[in-house]
Amino acid sequence: MNGKPSTLSVIWVLVERDLRTLVRSPFILINRTIFFLIQLFVFAALVSKLATALGFNYFDFYSVGAVVSTITSIAFIIGEDLFEEEELGLLDYLLSLPFGHSLFVIGRALGGAVRGLIYVTPMMILVAYVDGYFSPAGVAGSLAIIFVLATGISGLSITLAMLIRNANRFDIVIALAELATVRVSAAIYPLVFMPRVLQPVASYSPVTATSDLVRSIVLPGYTSGTYETVVLLLFVGVFFGLGSAFLFRKIEGGRFE
């Protein structure tokens, strides 16, 4: 038998390990599902009643944003897992396994993203149904876009886990990063209503890009295209690179791979 495992088999092992964590975490699954349903059928439904003079259906707008913000929130969990592994001393063991650190980041980011996708697939189907969209190909395309976002957010979360050492600070920073990525975006309100100074920032947000791309598939009257796709792919590329670089620096004492 060849001693060194292939790249694909390493990635699969890492993804599978994170999926097993999903199976062992029923509370998180139940909690996020309930949170999503409350966001949709309590918050969005009640705010829509107040937002009667907008010229568009806020419930439909928000429903897509709720799926995108849920996957963002779930993808951040992978950083929490890494931080816990680091606290328990398990990360050093994992990094001593016979594969490169970049591969480790890719595997964990993909694991986080696949896990997130499993969470939100029923939510996306529900949103498509309540918004009156019934194309399986369109729903699959939307899920593919959401998966790309989740991969980038997982990379960002891993980067934060590698940068921060204090547990309390990590908790707060992760909550802040999650809040900032969702709120400074067009996930829950259109860019035009945001404070002017933040509109340019939000227009470069991967969460905005994902929300716009999915809305253009699921909801009539919304458009998006190349710009949103480029923003999303750039975000994923940058945080794969950073996550990998910080992991390497942590282990190897200062140099980037």
């Binding site: 909690n31 107040l50 937002a51 003079a53 809040l179």
Partner: protein, 255 residues
């Protein structure tokens, strides 16, 4: 050593732990500013058709959410001592009676939350145009509300044996406080079941009193229905939740 001095020592220790990281305070304030300055202004601009400023309507809720996050750090500390650091047994060998120790942890959680949200409370007082005495009433509301959340957080920390369960309870409580209260919508717009749940939500009562405080700029929000019974209700709810937190925390101290 007198009982009150022992309690002060426990509270001082919790303050040292909490404020050892100054960045945390800054980050929590940024958190509040994102809630208020991004979501508040955006939703306020979106809901311009209402007879009152929606931005001012949801502003105190942003500060109460920050108080929730800060107060939940108490539960996080208790949970870490029990499960991760395994230091609870050591702490219980210190010459502090268990009841005093448990109450002090709850009180420190409240005080940490009030101090953390002080800049936010000042911002809300300025937005509402509150006089100094009413600003102090605002601080009192934050104090009483923080008691409710500190009680919930310590209760959660005492029951949860895994980080996953603790995080789930924390998140569920935050969702309940935010979405089943009058933070985003008046109770008159809610379905009956949501309105019923919101009556048992400390956030609803804290917001009700905050919005009714007589300020220069929040006149359109006020209905003139403020009376002392609302404060008594909030205090009773808070005391009940603190008592639950106390009982469950005390239970973890027995072999």
């Amino acid at each position: 050593m007198a009982g009150s001095s022992k309690a002060t020592d426990v509270i001082e220790r919790d303050f040292r732990v909490f404020f050892a990281d100054k960045y945390m305070l800054v980050i929590m304030f940024i958190n509040f500013m994102i809630d208020l300055g991004v979501s508040g202004l955006s939703l306020g601009a979106m809901l311009k058709n209402l007879p009152y400023s929606y931005f001012l309507y949801i502003a105190p809720g942003a500060n109460l959410i920050t108080a929730t996050v800060a107060a939940f750090q108490s539960g996080r500390d208790v949970w870490r001592e029990r499960i991760i650091q395994d230091t609870q047994q050591y702490l219980l060998t210190l010459p502090v009676p268990k009841n005093t120790f448990a109450v002090s942890r709850l009180v420190s959680g409240i005080l940490r939350s009030v101090v953390t949200t002080l800049p936010g409370t000042v911002v809300i007082a300025l937005l509402y145009g509150l006089s100094f005495p009413y600003f102090l009433v605002g601080l009192l509301i934050m104090f009483v509300y923080s008691g409710a959340v500190a009680g919930l957080s310590v209760a959660a920390a005492s029951m949860a044996n895994s980080l996953e369960l603790f995080a789930t309870v924390r998140s569920t409580v935050q969702v309940y406080l935010s979405f089943f209260s009058t933070q985003f919508y008046p109770s008159g717009n809610m379905p009956v079941y949501v309105a019923a749940l919101s009556n048992f939500n400390p956030m609803t009562w804290a917001l009700l009193i905050f919005r009714e405080l007589p300020g220069s700029f929040n006149g359109a929000l006020r209905t003139g229905s403020l009376d002392v019974t609302q404060f008594v209700y909030l205090a009773a709810l808070s005391a009940a939740l603190m008592f639950v937190g106390f009982l469950l925390y005390r239970r973890t101290m027995e072999y």
